[in-house]
């Protein structure tokens, strides 16, 4: 009897309590992209929401796979809640892949809009943060992409793959960004993204019905920040320099001139070491880049694959790398922002010294910082063939 009573009580408790946190899958609007722009004093939030039936369902119609909603509010959180007026379902943030910040917002400072992103429990930390170049952040989310039905996951994947294979790009996760923002010795960078072609056309289905889509989303190089404000953009080489110094490069290519053309090398392993030395009470930085490369493509007239020739090539490469890295350094110094985290390195390796120089680090210490760059290339492999067939043809 009492056992039964107990069971009844527990069950009634269960049933009564039922559904506070329950959310059925078909009541969710799965949000994969979020764009934040600043309009006057208000935040404009654009959300890209999936339409699951169009992506994976059996009966697919011609309707688009994603749709966007927009709302404004005094804070990001408020604007997101305001979205529920237009959105048919409850917004679900856990599967967020991208946050795009508007360029205007970025120049004014991104710190305030990030707080919500790290505070809310639904959000995970594995999304990328990007800066939209030239256009509004919202426009990035309004372009349909071919192949991948979900535009945000297209961008997400292309960041991941180009990070692996192409030195100038770098995906930034929220916790990296926040760690850098909160550190006094470090400044963040964010990858830029922009729309190539007509924005309005990019939102229509016709854009993906053509074999060569007129409007595409493309990744740009890095935007650099001073504290939380965007101060400038790096070009390809400068971005490359950044990633080399930060030891972010996993796999990339380098091109070197030779007689009658050039040779392209696959850099498959690089390792960068940043060393801090104290010199007359001032920090001195040595950046040492060590790379293993293999020959990827040869378009030279002469045979460059001899042992001696390869050594020459490696030296040329070293020189080129030093130049590229210097280029990036100079730009950063001009903008007076220590994006390379040299300050952080000094703090880690020599905290006492750091305490002496940390005052006005970006403006003074960093700008006058003595940075030595060393580079060393090892050419290990020549690909699947030894000698190029072109030499024979030209030699005859």
């Amino acid at each position: 009897m009492k056992k039964i009573l107990k069971i009844i009580i527990i069950f009634s408790l269960l049933i009564m309590s039922g559904c506070w946190d329950r959310k059925e899958l078909n009541e969710l609007a799965i949000l994969t992209g979020l764009a934040i722009d600043k309009e006057d004093d208000e935040y404009k939030v654009t959300a890209q929401v999936l339409n699951p039936g169009e992506i994976a369902g059996k009966a697919q119609s011609t309707r688009v796979a994603v749709s966007t909603y927009e709302a404004t509010g005094k804070s990001v959180f408020e604007a997101l809640r305001a979205l529920t007026i237009t959105s048919p379902r409850k917004l679900y943030l856990s599967h967020l892949k991208l946050v795009v910040l508007g360029e205007e917002l970025a120049t004014q400072g991104i710190g305030q809009s990030l707080d919500f992103l790290s505070r809310d429990h639904e959000l995970r930390t594995d999304f990328f943060i990007l800066i939209s170049k030239e256009n509004d952040a919202s426009s990035i989310l309004k372009i349909l992409t071919p192949i991948d039905k979900i535009p945000t996951s297209k961008i997400f994947d292309s960041i991941e793959s180009s990070e692996e294979n192409w030195a100038p790009t770098k995906g930034v996760h929220l916790h990296d960004l926040i760690a850098k923002l909160s550190s006094e010795s470090d400044n963040p960078v964010l990858t830029g993204v922009y729309v190539e072609g007509d924005i309005d056309f990019g939102g229509s289905v016709e854009n993906v019905e053509r074999i060569n889509s007129p409007s595409v989303i493309s990744l740009d190089y890095l935007g650099i920040f001073k504290e939380d404000k965007l101060v400038g953009w790096l070009n390809k080489n400068e971005s490359k320099a950044f990633n080399y110094i930060m030891d972010n490069v996993k796999n990339t290519v380098g091109v070197e001139k030779c007689e009658g053309g050039n040779v392209t090398l696959e850099i498959y392993e690089t390792n960068t070491e940043v060393k801090v030395v104290e010199d007359n009470g001032l920090p001195k930085i040595t950046v040492k880049v060590e790379s293993d490369v293999s020959i990827g493509e040869v378009r030279c007239k002469e045979n460059i694959l001899g042992e001696e020739k390869l050594k020459e090539l490696a030296e040329k490469l070293d020189k080129q790398t030093r130049e590229v890295l210097n280029e990036g350094l100079i730009t950063a110094k001009e903008l007076q922002t220590d994006i390379f985290g040299f300050g952080e390195q000094i703090r880690k390796q020599n905290p006492k010294l750091w305490n002496k120089v940390k005052e006005n680090w970006n403006e003074e210490g960093f700008v006058h910082l003595d940075v030595q760059i060393e580079s060393h290339y090892n050419i290990r492999r020549t690909g699947t063939i030894k000698e190029s067939f072109q030499w024979k043809a030209s030699g005859d």
């Binding site: 009492k2 009573l5 107990k6 009580i9």
Partner: protein
């Protein structure tokens, strides 16, 4: 209401057993604790502010606690 219901249910569940086994002391203790719990719960539910027992402890201990904190903080600087 809910609180009283829960209290009654607990009593219905426990009391007969204690009676059967003649556990007087248990019964007294049981009713004391149950009474205490349900009183506080009822008051709390009805919006009566109950003075937080923690605040008394805080008054006693915070000098010690903060003293230790400050000790570490100052030495750390």
């Amino acid at each position: 209401m809910g609180v009283l219901l829960v209290a009654t249910l607990i009593s219905i569940y426990e009391i007969p057993k204690m009676k059967k086994q003649n556990m007087k002391r248990d019964f007294i203790l049981f009713s004391c604790v149950l009474f205490l719990a349900s009183t506080i719960a009822t008051l709390h539910v009805n919006g009566v502010t109950i003075s937080n027992p923690i605040s008394g402890l805080r008054a006693i201990f915070s000098p010690i606690g903060l003293g230790i904190e400050n000790f570490f903080m100052e030495k750390g600087q």
